[in-house]
Structure formats: structure tokens, C-alpha cells
Amino acid sequence: MKEDRFEPKIIAFMCNWCAYGAADLAGVSRLAYPPNIRPIRVMCSATISPHHILRAFQSGADGVLVGG
């Protein structure tokens, strides 16, 4: 990520069955998007508790995406 301007770090929790597959399909379709997200695969978005989201912010994330 470039240093000269603010680039957010985003943690994306992605459900294996939908959002993760959608992100795969975005790749297959070569849909370009900014390289700021760091995806974490989970088996269901239901497994994400506030703890995970807070932990991400505590660790320095600028944004959290829960895709499910």
C-alpha cells in the first residue's frame, strides 16, 4: 500500500458458501477492485462475533467487512 496517501486496511470475513465464492467469481470475471482487503475465510458469517470485529479494530484495521 502506498505511503503518500491514506490507504485503509480492511479485514473481510467471508462466508465460505457465498461471499468467499463471490470473491472467487469476481476474480474469474477479472473485476478489478482496490487491493486493500485481507480476506479471512469462515464457514459461515454466523461464526463472526463482536469479538472478532473488535479484535480486528484493536489490531489496527480501518474497516471490517462481514460478507455472508
Binding site: I11, L25, G27, S29, P35, M43, C44
Partner: protein, 1076 residues
């Protein structure tokens, strides 16, 4: 290996390589114009001139075609090299002052005005075009003339007859000098992409679409230049793994099989044969299939809703229904294609979602046939959302002169003529069977009907006329996805019923190496980073990622692969894991959704537990979406690898245990569906307990007369009951209800109650086929006047040869009684056909009888349309009514007077009817207790809710329980039977297993941490968690757990952990992601 110096640095190349190739490898830039990797170097443009020092003197050579030798010294950036190149560029600039690439070079060399005489050529005579044309095996163009008159041309300057129009010359020309129309005599068209319905083009070597199986490119021999001239073969030269073999031949493979299933699908109707719709001429008149591609994110416009002619966003789109369906005048497709109404509505809704501005959508239709589950609700929602539905058959679609717009004129329901202009028009084309399929059918001897669909009867919906050959999908008649999927399973069931004895006779047992216990070992991680050809390596700097991976904690081995998934790499990987004693593996490659099982198998082969594996998705989530930014993509790849390693450090082996399967089934419901499923399973060799709540088998079918194909339902039911009764493997339980259910897939225990006696049966699977019932209306004098009756009651009169049938002079049917209203917002699917069939039966008994059918939309879908046409020909009168102007019925002695408004005449009419048949709806039994016992859901109309409406139409979300028949949704007999066979097929996928695997990625509750708050039990969607009253803790049944982890998220004490995705692993990934 040859060593030499390049700009003072020591470099090495292989024998036979040229300077340019080695320079490229070492990242030294040398400009070229006439060079192309696929062609032999020619040294034509001289731009690649470099300085060579051979130990004694310095001279200039062209880098592209000067072979390297030991000890030479090359300089690419000396002043004299630059001066030489500058002169060449200056000369080219004078020759071609308007060519972009030359202008760019001029800027680089700081050239403004050339000192030489300016000409206006665009060709730099690099000869790439002529060389590549030669390589194509087809010298259509060449360099003609001499000296200053030299130019690229065709023989005699005529358009060439031999040019194939392959476009290779155009693709290599650096200046844009060539035009295909100057060279080729015939018109050259791009190869239309089949996947994009011709809206985009494809190459001769291609993968049909991103999700194609197998996902490997194929060469279309009909357009590949090599197969025309013997030349080219560039693809083979470029393929890094030498996978292309042009010498492959078609081969005839003989297979020894017990049955055949035909699923050849359909072809969309081609409307170019209709002049009046302008499809062939007007670019903005598209077929629905083309429009589907326009809407698709993977389509020609990336899902951006624009019209083909000028790529503008349309503001107004029209749909014309029944193009190539319900039409005997201009084509031979008299049938209804069944799916077009619904797909048109779907397209209106999606178009409006895709459109940035409010989009005006109008659908021009004859009858709106939304007879599927939840379809009517979708239709009503579209109407409420503002989509216009106009009942009108448009004759012609015309261009608006001077624009790309489209104009239509149509008659509105009130008789007035309207004209409208649209930006785009979609033709809702029907389904038809391809000539090749008809030819195939003739070869194998199966009978087709007049429309080329298979000749099947209602009681054997997937059987063709040849025993052992089955058919499914649109080949048996036009149908949508859920019905096609049901038929697919049904034909699998029918095909395997007779092959039951051969089951597992050709199975090979896979021998797996024993698993190594790595419990006490510290993590020793192997990281394998895949280039995926150029898919990853072309964007992400893989060597850099590999170097980085070596620095990560506990990484013991790192390797780069060209293709990690290839067979040879897999074997190599297995060896490395064993040799290096690795105990955890990370593969940085594509997506785990497609490749995790493959790599897990590699781990198993290397004696490792398959859960000691993690993937970093550096292709789909990285190189493919950040191809424009290799730096960021490389950084992201490093981050993804680091995150995967962080998690992998914490991975533990997970166990899967085998649970034996009880090889028997419970079928609930003794109607046609239940009996069919039971008999099918018995034929497969499995014992069945068949439970029926009443005292007889047969269900609703006992009350039905004939099917729409005029087959006698009664005699079929009698035979089916006999088949059930004579089957030793079926135990019948009539007057029985279900009082308790325990267990899960493979191991159910169900309590059957018959009065006071209770019996427990053990079974591996359950099929619910509890049916539905006819609604008893509370309007139109039903129950008050003897002339008013329902369909089943009318069928009773027919079956008993009641004299009222022949004596009736006037008969009226009212459709949609209790259907498609606020209380039951669904279509009961069978009533239109039932009324039309009964009307014809009346006419057959007494041709003078007047029969009137009052309807809203005539839904005689598929081949049933023939009956509708027959009925009109026989003089049956059809009148539409709207729900806000329902017919009125009053008593008149033995008869009733039915009063309604004819919407064409706009006049009130009255019929004094001897018989008024109410086409009443089909309603659910609302089996709440049964649904609760099996923990399966009912929808808002009381129908069993399937796991996926399109792709899993007989499954529940819970494993081991299946549904069929009208408990799922109202349907005719052939669809009930197909679904019953489908349920039996799905059930046998469980019953055919010796054991089921339980465990792996499931939740595990730590008893010490559990405080017994029941929070997890409340959120578990699968009922997989129970509470142990003694220990006062919650416990997970691994067989029911689907591994969603909801329990882990809700627990305040973090007692449940989702194995393989536990909190510590997720926290490690989060921390690692943000650690840089």
C-alpha cells in the same frame, strides 16, 4: 551455459539464444519494432542495435538475431547506441509521422522535427505481417517492389482469395497499417462466442466459459488456422507445459453400460426467420438468451445494462412473449415453452436492479404462466414494483427511422390502439429440440412426438419408448430448472433400479497410507507457491513471495510451482512432505473452493491428516483482480501467505469417524408419490416402511379420472398398490401416524403409532410425501346448491357415468377459486388443464353442450397447450375475468345463473348452468407436528421448503430427509412421480454408503467452559446441540452439525469451538493480516 557480460554485469544464457532473449531475462530493456516471440528474428528495423565488444574491437549488432557466445561483452546504453537508435527513429518518423508508436519513440529520443523529407506512410516495412502470414502457412501478403517502392501487398494488389481472414497480420502490425478488408476478398467476421450468445467473440483456442468443466482450453478445429493450412502452431510453442498436441484424432470409445440417460437439452428458438420482428436487422431487438448475457456480470458488457447498437443505457425496454411458442401460423411450435413468462419477469426485475435510472419495463403477453412454486408471488411483486404487463400480441416490431429505437403498435384490452417507442426489445424465445438430437433419437430408436420431445406417458415420466433408455430435462418437454433437476435424479433412479444387482461390482477400493501422528511435533510448515502458468506469475512476483515465505515462523520448506495442481507436482509434493518431514502445508494458489480437496488428498497420500492444510488464495482474490498493480498484488500475496502460515501454526489434526448406515427407508404418505418412492427404493434393494394416515393407499389419485394425456388414473393406482403389496421389502403401516423421531442421517429411529399400538422403526433415510388436499370453496354457492361442485366431485360424476353429465346443456367452469388471492397467493398449477380436459370430455359425451371457462390466465403449460387449442376448436368458450370483477352466481331452481363481464365485448353476460365446476385450489395439510418432529421447515403457504428451490428441489437442508409429491407444491401426476423417483435416487445416495463420515469441521463444546445458558442451542439452525441435564452442559451431535460456528459466536464463555476455524486461529489470522 554461456557466460558473458551485459552492461558490465555477468549474465548467462543457453546455447542458441540471442542477446535480446537473455537481456529480457535479466530485465534489461532493448527497444524493438520488428520482433515477435512467435517468429524467427529478422533484424529488419535495426532498433535493437547494441554494442558488441569481442575483445579486440567494438561493433554494432542487432540484439534480436545475434547469437550469444562465451566471453562477449554487450552494452545496450552507450551514447553511440543511443545515437544510432535515434537516427533510426528519425528516419522512421520522417516516413511515418502519424504513427503513435513512432511518435512515442520520437518523444523518448527527444526528436521533434525530422531532418529528412516527410512522407505520409504508415508502414515501417518491419515485415512482421508477411512473416506471420507465412507462419500461418498461407502467404497471402508479401513485400513487393524494390528499394523505395517496397511495400506490403497482396499479389497483383487484388483482394486475396487465399487469405483466411485469421487476422494474424493485423494483430502483429505495430503501426496499425493493415486493414483486413484490403487483404481479404470475403468479409471477415469475428468468431461468435457461443457462451455470450454471439454478442462477444472468442478465439479458435478457448475455454467455453469460466466455470466450464473440464476447465481446459479446447481448439475449435473448424476455425483454427493450423487445421486449414498446417501452419501456425504458435499456441504449442507458447504453452509452457507442452500440453497442446495438434495431432490428436477423434476416437471411438466403446462403453459397456446397463442403461442410458439422455439429457441433450434444448436450443433457443431462432427468431431471425420472422421478418416482422426485425431480429435479424435491428441490433436492439435481442433474444431473451442474449439479454440474459447482457445482464450477466460475466457477459459481454460485464453486467452493465446497455443496448448493443450504441452502448447506451436503455430507459425503456419491452418484452414480447411466446416467440416461437404457442404458434402454429408461422412456426410449428404449438406448445407452450413453460419457462418464458417467468424468465421475462425475472429479467424485468433484474434489469431494474441494474439500471441506474428508473427503467420502464413492459411485458406483452397472451397468458401470464407463472405456475411454479413462489412464481405467482414474484409476478405480483413485479407488478407492484411498476413493471407493466400488457395482454396483447404484437404483430410487428419496427425501427424508428433515423434512430436505433424501436416502435410497436398494439391493441389494448379495451380495444384501442396504442403506439410506443422502446430503446430495446427482448424476444422471449421458446425452447425447441435440436435437429442433431432428433437424429440421435432416430439412430437409437426412441420415439419422439410431433414437436421432437420424447414420447413419454404420465406414469413413467422419464422412460423413453426403448426399455433401459431414459430421458430428462427439456428433452421430455419444455421445463424449468427445478423440474429438470428432479427429472435428472428421477432418470438416475429409473436407470439404477434395474441395475441394483450390479451395484459396486466394478468399484475399486482406494488404499490409503496410515496417518502419521504429528501431535507432539513442533510445526514444520511447507509452503508451495503456485504460478498458475501466468495467471499468478504474470502479476505477482512469485520468487519474491517465496523468499518472503522462508522468513515466516516455522516455515521449513518453500517451493515455487508452475502448476501446483498438476499430477506430477502433486506426486512431487507428496515426496517432499515425506522427505522433509513436513507436518503442515500451505499452498498459495487458487481458491480452496475448487482445489482444497485435491491438496488434502495429497496430504493424505503423504500420511498427514488432511486438516493440517491451509490455502492462500493469491489468484482469484489477488492476481486476477489486481492485475494493474503488480506491486500491491505482490504485497497482498505476501500478506495472504503470512496469514495462512499464522493459522497453519495453530492447526491440529481433526478426526472423522465412521458411523454405520441403517440400510432402510421410511416413506411417509401412501399416495402416488409415496408409493412410487417406496417401490423404487425396494427395486434398489432397500427395505421400506411405508406409512399412511388413512386406511387405504392411493391418496388423491383415487378420486381422479384421467390424466391430460387421457390415461386412466384409476387402473394405474390399482397396479401401483398391487406393486406395493406384492413387494416383500415394503412394510405397510396404514392408519398410522408418527409420534416421535430421533437420530440423524443414516441413523433415524421413528415411533409409529397405530391407535394404541406403538412401534419403533430404524431407518437411514426419510421421504416425506404427505400430499395435499382440494380446497372446499366458501363462495359461488358451493355446498349450498347441488349444481355447484369441485373438480374431484366432477371427476366422480364422470367415473360413475352420472346421467347429469350427458344431460347437461350448459356447463361453466370458474378458474382460480381459492388460488392466486391474498389468502393463497399461489397458482395451483393443475386446475387450468383439468378444466380444459373436463370441458373436452363434456364435448365428447355430448357435442351440443355449451361449455364456458371463466379464467384469469390460461395456464396449460408445455404440451398441455394442445388441449387448450383442441378445446377452442371443439367450441369451448373461454372468457377472462379479473379478480376485482369476479363472476356472480345465483340459484335458479336446479340450475345456477353465472353472471360475468366479457372483457372483449365489455358486456355483462349470463349463463344458466346445469353444472358449475369450481376449479378450486390445492391446499396444504399444514402438517406442523410432522415437520417439527423431523425439524424441517414449511413455507408461508404450508408447503415443505426445499434446501434450494432450483438446485436441490427434493432435499431438505437437513441431511437424509427428502420430499416429493404435492406436500412440496401442487403438481400433476407425472411431476409427482418424477419427484418421487428423484427422492428415491437422492435417498439411495445415502443408503448406498456403508458408513457416513462424521466430524471434521464441526463444533466442539468444551464442557469445562460451558455454563449451561442454552444460548448455543437456541441459535443452532440444525438442532445439532442438545443439553445434558445430568452434566448440565450442552453437547454437539457431530452427525447433525454443519460447521457454521453460530454457537461459537453466541457463547459468552467461548465454550464451543468450530474445529479448523477456532477463535485462536481466526485471531492469529487477524493479527497477522495487520502486523505490517
Amino acid at each position: 551455459m554461456i557466460k558473458f557480460k551485459l552492461n558490465g554485469k555477468k549474465v548467462q544464457g543457453e546455447e542458441g539464444q540471442f542477446i535480446l532473449q537473455v537481456a529480457e531475462k535479466y530485465g534489461v530493456e532493448i527497444p524493438t519494432l520488428c520482433h515477435h516471440k512467435a517468429l524467427e528474428p529478422a533484424g529488419m528495423c535495426r532498433l535493437c542495435t547494441v554494442e558488441l565488444f569481442d575483445g579486440r574491437r567494438t561493433r554494432f549488432v542487432t540484439a534480436c538475431n545475434y547469437p550469444i557466445w562465451e566471453g562477449m561483452e554487450i552494452r545496450t546504453d552507450t551514447d553511440s547506441v543511443h545515437e544510432g537508435r535515434k537516427l533510426i527513429v528519425e528516419l522512421l518518423l520522417a516516413r511515418c509521422p502519424d504513427v503513435p508508436i513512432i511518435n512515442e519513440l520520437a518523444v523518448q529520443y527527444d526528436l521533434k522535427e525530422p531532418r529528412f523529407k516527410i512522407r505520409d506512410d504508415t508502414c515501417i516495412l518491419c515485415g512482421l505481417c508477411t512473416r506471420i502470414c507465412d507462419k500461418m502457412g498461407n502467404s497471402a501478403i508479401g513485400l513487393t517492389g524494390r528499394g523505395v517502392d517496397m511495400k506490403v501487398d497482396t499479389p497483383f494488389q487484388d483482394q486475396s482469395e487465399v487469405c483466411l481472414g485469421c487476422g494474424a497480420c493485423i494483430s502483429v502490425c505495430p503501426t496499425g497499417h493493415l486493414k483486413i478488408e484490403d487483404i481479404a476478398k470475403h468479409t471477415v467476421k469475428p468468431i461468435p462466442s457461443e457462451y455470450d450468445a454471439g454478442l462477444a467473440s472468442r478465439r479458435p483456442i478457448y475455454v467455453p466459459y469460466a466455470q466450464a468443466v473440464p476447465n481446459t482450453p479446447a481448439i475449435d478445429r473448424s476455425v483454427c488456422v493450423h487445421f486449414k493450412t498446417g501452419g501456425c502452431k504458435i499456441c504449442a510453442e507458447f504453452c509452457p507445459v507442452e500440453a497442446i498436441d495438434h495431432s490428436q484424432q477423434d476416437e471411438v470409445v466403446e462403453l459397456d453400460v446397463g442403461s442410458i440417460i439422455l439429457a441433450p437439452g434444448f436450443e433457443a428458438f431462432d427468431p431471425s426467420r420472422f421478418d416482422s420482428y426485425g431480429y435479424a436487422k435491428l441490433p436492439n431487438v435481442v433474444t431473451a438468451l442474449e439479454f440474459e448475457r447482457i445482464l450477466s456480470a460475466t457477459g459481454p458488457y460485464m453486467g452493465h445494462l446497455i443496448r448493443p447498437s450504441d452502448k447506451k443505457e436503455p430507459k425503456k425496454i419491452g418484452w414480447l412473449q411466446c416467440v416461437g411458442s404457442r404458434d402454429l401460423n408461422r412456426c410449428d411450435n404449438a406448445y407452450c415453452s413453460s419457462v418464458c413468462c417467468m424468465y421475462a419477469i425475472k429479467q424485468t426485475v433484474i434489469s431494474r436492479e441494474h439500471s441506474t435510472e428508473p427503467l420502464d419495463c413492459a411485458v406483452f403477453y397472451m397468458d401470464m404462466r407463472t405456475h411454479g412454486k413462489d412464481f405467482d408471488k414474484y409476478y405480483e411483486n413485479a407488478k407492484k414494483g411498476g413493471v407493466r404487463f400488457v395482454r396483447s400480441r404484437i404483430h410487428s416490431i419496427d425501427p424508428v427511422p433515423g434512430t436505433d429505437d424501436i416502435s410497436v403498435r398494439y391493441i389494448q384490452e379495451d380495444g384501442t390502439i396504442a403506439a410506443e417507442i422502446f430503446d430495446m426489445f427482448v424476444l422471449s424465445v421458446g425452447l425447441e429440440i435440436n435437429q442433431d438430437v432428433a437424429d440421435l433419437s432416430e439412430r437409437i430408436g426412441i420415439e419422439l412426438d410431433d414437436y421432437r420431445f420424447t414420447q413419454t406417458d404420465s406414469f413413467h415420466p422419464v422412460a423413453t419408448s426403448v426399455p433401459g433408455i431414459y430421458a430428462c430435462g427439456a428433452f421430455t418437454g419444455p421445463k424449468d430448472i427445478p423440474q429438470s433437476v428432479m427429472e435428472a435424479s428421477a432418470s438416475a433412479c429409473a436407470a439404477t433400479e434395474h441395475l441394483a444387482s450390479a451395484r459396486n461390482t466394478r468399484t475399486k477400493i482406494l488404499e490409503l497410507p496410515p496417518e502419521r501422528d504429528v501431535g507432539e511435533e513442533p510445526p514444520k510448515i511447507g509452503v508451495f507457491i503456485c504460478n498458475c502458468g501466468i495467471n499468478i506469475g504474470g502479476v505477482v512476483r512469485v520468487p519474491e513471495v517465496a523468499t518472503y515465505a522462508k522468513t515466516l515462523p516455522n516455515v521449513a520448506y518453500v517451493e515455487e510451482n508452475l502448476f501446483s495442481c498438476s499430477q506430477d507436482t502433486q506426486e512431487k509434493m507428496t515426496d517432499i512432505i515425506k522427505q522433509k518431514g513436513l507436518n503442515r502445508v500451505v499452498v498459495a494458489a487458487c481458491t480452496p473452493k475448487t482445489h482444497e480437496p485435491l491438496f488434502q488428498e495429497t496430504l493424505i497420500n503423504a500420511s498427514l491428516n488432511k486438516y493440517l492444510f491451509e490455502m492462500a488464495n493469491i489468484r482469484n482474490h489477488d492476481s486476477w483482480v489486481h492485475s494493474g498493480d503488480p506491486d500491491a498484488a505482490t504485497q497482498k500475496a505476501k500478506d495472504l501467505v503470512r496469514m495462512a502460515v499464522a493459522k497453519t501454526n495453530l492447526l491440529t489434526p481433526l478426526k472423522q469417524t465412521d458411523l454405520a448406515v441403517t440400510h432402510s427407508a421410511l416413506v411417509i404418505g401412501g399416495g402416488i408419490a409415496g408409493m412410487t418412492a417406496a417401490v423404487s427404493l425396494a427395486h434398489q434393494g432397500y427395505p421400506v416402511d411405508l406409512v399412511e394416515r388413512s386406511d387405504t393407499l392411493g391418496g388423491n389419485a383415487l378420486l381422479l379420472g384421467k390424466t391430460h394425456k387421457n390415461e386412466d388414473v384409476g387402473s394405474f393406482v390399482t397396479e401401483l398398490v398391487k406393486a406395493v403389496e406384492s413387494q416383500d421389502l415394503i412394510s405397510m403401516h396404514t392408519q398410522t401416524s408418527i409420534s416421535n423421531v430421533e437420530g440423524f442421517v443414516g441413523n433415524f429411529k421413528t415411533e409409529l403409532r397405530n391407535g394404541e399400538s406403538v412401534k419403533t422403526v430404524e431407518h437411514g433415510v426419510t421421504i416425506i410425501a404427505t400430499g395435499a388436499k382440494e380446497y372446499k370453496p366458501d363462495e359461488y354457492l358451493y355446498g349450498e346448491h347441488p349444481a355447484v361442485m369441485t373438480h374431484l366431485e366432477l371427476d366422480g360424476l364422470f367415473q360413475n357415468n352420472d346421467p347429469r353429465i350427458e344431460q347437461a346443456k350448459n356447463v361453466v367452469f370458474i378458474q382460480c377459486v381459492g388460488s392466486r388471492d391474498d389468502q393463497r397467493p399461489y397458482c395451483s398449477k393443475v386446475c387450468c388443464t383439468h378444466s380444459v380436459k373436463s370441458a373436452l370430455d363434456f364435448k365428447q359425451k355430448n357435442p351440443d353442450v355449451n361449455v364456458s371457462i371463466l379464467f384469469r390466465d390460461m395456464r396449460t403449460y408445455g404440451k398441455r397447450e394442445d388441449l387448450y387449442r383442441e378445446a377452442r376448436a371443439a367450441g369451448v368458450l373461454f372468457f377472462t375475468y379479473s379478480p376485482d370483477q369476479k363472476p356472480e352466481v345465483r340459484s335458479d331452481g336446479d340450475r345456477v345463473i353465472v353472471e360475468f363481464t366479457d372483457r372483449i365485448l365489455n358486456h355483462k353476460l349470463a349463463v344458466r348452468a346445469d353444472i358449475l365446476c369450481l376449479a378450486s385450489s390445492i391446499v396444504s395439510h399444514w402438517d406442523h407436528p410432522l415437520a417439527q418432529l423431523f425439524k424441517v421447515p414449511l413455507d408461508s403457504n404450508g408447503w415443505l421448503l426445499e434446501a434450494h428451490q432450483k438446485l436441490r428441489p427434493v432435499d431438505f437442508a437437513n441431511d437424509g430427509i427428502f420430499m416429493c409429491g404435492m406436500a412440496h407444491y401442487p403438481k400433476p401426476i407425472e411431476e409427482s412421480i418424477a419427484q418421487a423417483q428423484a427422492a428415491a435416487a437422492r435417498a439411495s445416495t445415502v443408503l448406498a454408503l456403508e458408513n457416513i463420515k462424521v466430524g471434521g469441521i464441526v463444533s466442539d463444546i468444551c464442557a469445562e467452559l460451558c455454563s449451561g445458558c442454552l444460548g448455543c442451542i437456541n441459535v443452532c439452525p440444525y438442532g445439532a446441540i442438545t443439553f445434558d441435564d445430568q452434566k448440565f452442559v450442552a453437547e454437539v451431535n457431530a452427525a447433525l452439525c454443519k460447521g457454521c460456528g453460530a454457537c461459537a459466536a453466541v457463547c459468552p464463555s467461548e465454550a464451543p469451538a468450530l474445529m479448523g476455524f477456532n477463535n485462536n486461529q481466526l485471531y492469529a489470522q487477524i493479527k497477522s493480516a495487520l502486523s505490517i
